[in-house]
Symmetry: C7
Subunit: 87 residues, 7 copies
Amino acid sequence: MVTIKRIILDVLKPHHPDCLEFACAIADKSPGIKVELTVDEIDEKTESIIIVIEGESLDYDAIVEVITDLGGSVHSLDEVEVTSKPD
Amino acid sequence: MVTIKRIILDVLKPHHPDCLEFACAIADKSPGIKVELTVDEIDEKTESIIIVIEGESLDYDAIVEVITDLGGSVHSLDEVEVTSKPD
Amino acid sequence: MVTIKRIILDVLKPHHPDCLEFACAIADKSPGIKVELTVDEIDEKTESIIIVIEGESLDYDAIVEVITDLGGSVHSLDEVEVTSKPD
Amino acid sequence: MVTIKRIILDVLKPHHPDCLEFACAIADKSPGIKVELTVDEIDEKTESIIIVIEGESLDYDAIVEVITDLGGSVHSLDEVEVTSKPD
Amino acid sequence: MVTIKRIILDVLKPHHPDCLEFACAIADKSPGIKVELTVDEIDEKTESIIIVIEGESLDYDAIVEVITDLGGSVHSLDEVEVTSKPD
Amino acid sequence: MVTIKRIILDVLKPHHPDCLEFACAIADKSPGIKVELTVDEIDEKTESIIIVIEGESLDYDAIVEVITDLGGSVHSLDEVEVTSKPD
Amino acid sequence: MVTIKRIILDVLKPHHPDCLEFACAIADKSPGIKVELTVDEIDEKTESIIIVIEGESLDYDAIVEVITDLGGSVHSLDEVEVTSKPD
């Protein structure tokens, strides 16, 4: 079985909801994960944020759904780490 | 349950109260936290400071309230780390 | 006996399947490995990715086969670490 | 209770008393602390020094008093780390 | 007795055999060693590679022989670490 | 009680006695210390050296005396670390 | 008693004997030491090498003698670390 351990997302979002709400909403949907959100660039109406998410087994689709529901769009998946269980 | 473990704030403040009072006032409102305050830029009447706050479960609103009460304004929330409890 | 512990591949791939599918497909074929995929450059129709794969004993041919099956091509093998068992 | 764990001071001092005397005088007033003093810039009559002070519970006013008594002036408090005890 | 613990070789090789074969062939001749091979520069017919070899007691001549047998030439020995046993 | 744990000295010395003799002479006068001497700049008749001295309780005056006796002159005391014993 | 723990030598040597022979010859004369030799610059007839030697108690004169016997000349002693035994 393959599990996702870590992803780094480059996300474009409106100023509201703010970064804290974004991070909390993502964490809220997935038990046992860590979410680090860093602001990369602030424009007039939007901001680029980098989200690093780590956990024992991440649900990528659920994460993207939360981001989209909050008005954000995943610009790119910059990094992903997956592992496969030994036989 | 989602808890905030670490935030980095970019804050604009008047010269008084000084940085030490700022840091102590923030820590005073939240038991069991660590506050690191670094001066980023000093202007004639104001100074930009970076505040890194870490704890088991930070109360963001209480932190912002202390900063505002002391005459400071949160310019931006540069980084936030949250975790969700495993099921 | 010689075993491959770590390889770094520079791969050119179409945008689809996406990076997550790539990483998962590689891990899925090899039990007990870790796959880190980083996007290096994004062009109109393709993207360059760096794939770091670690495991107790990697099967290089199986890895290349997965990449090729998904439409990717190994541009170069940038790094390889192998060990030989003591006598 | 809030305690100060670490401060970094930017201090302007005359050449005499020298850096060693400065550091020792500060440490002498506060039991159980560590004082690291680095010379930043030397001018004709004065020198800028950076003083890093760490301890379990620093007394800021006592530290500033020692510096002033030796003819130095605190140019700025560049960094401060405080902690609050858990409830 | 003096033993070689680590060497770094700058090697020029044809594209074939590839890096993986090179690394495996070196490791295959020496039990209990680790071989890290990094590609430094790729030209039309040749490539420059850096080979880091570590082990309890490396046999330098055997290593060079393998490289030469595969069509490579040692351009330089960039680093070497040796130890002598205590009396 | 205040003790000196570490000092960094910028010293100007003639080429002879050489760096090794300098380091050994300093260490010889103070039991239980470590002396690291790095050459910073070599001129025709003199050389600038950086001396890092660490120990449980350094005797600064004794160190300077050794340096002066060997023909060196302390250009500056670049860093000093002192500690005070807890009550 | 003062002992030398570590020295860094800048040495000019002919191409032959090669670096490996140099390192081994130095280690061979001194039991229980580690010799790291890095090539810094290669000219037509000579090469500059940096030799880092570590041990419990290095014999500097013996090391220099080996280097000289092999046709090398110590260009400079770049760093030296010595310690003195506690009383």
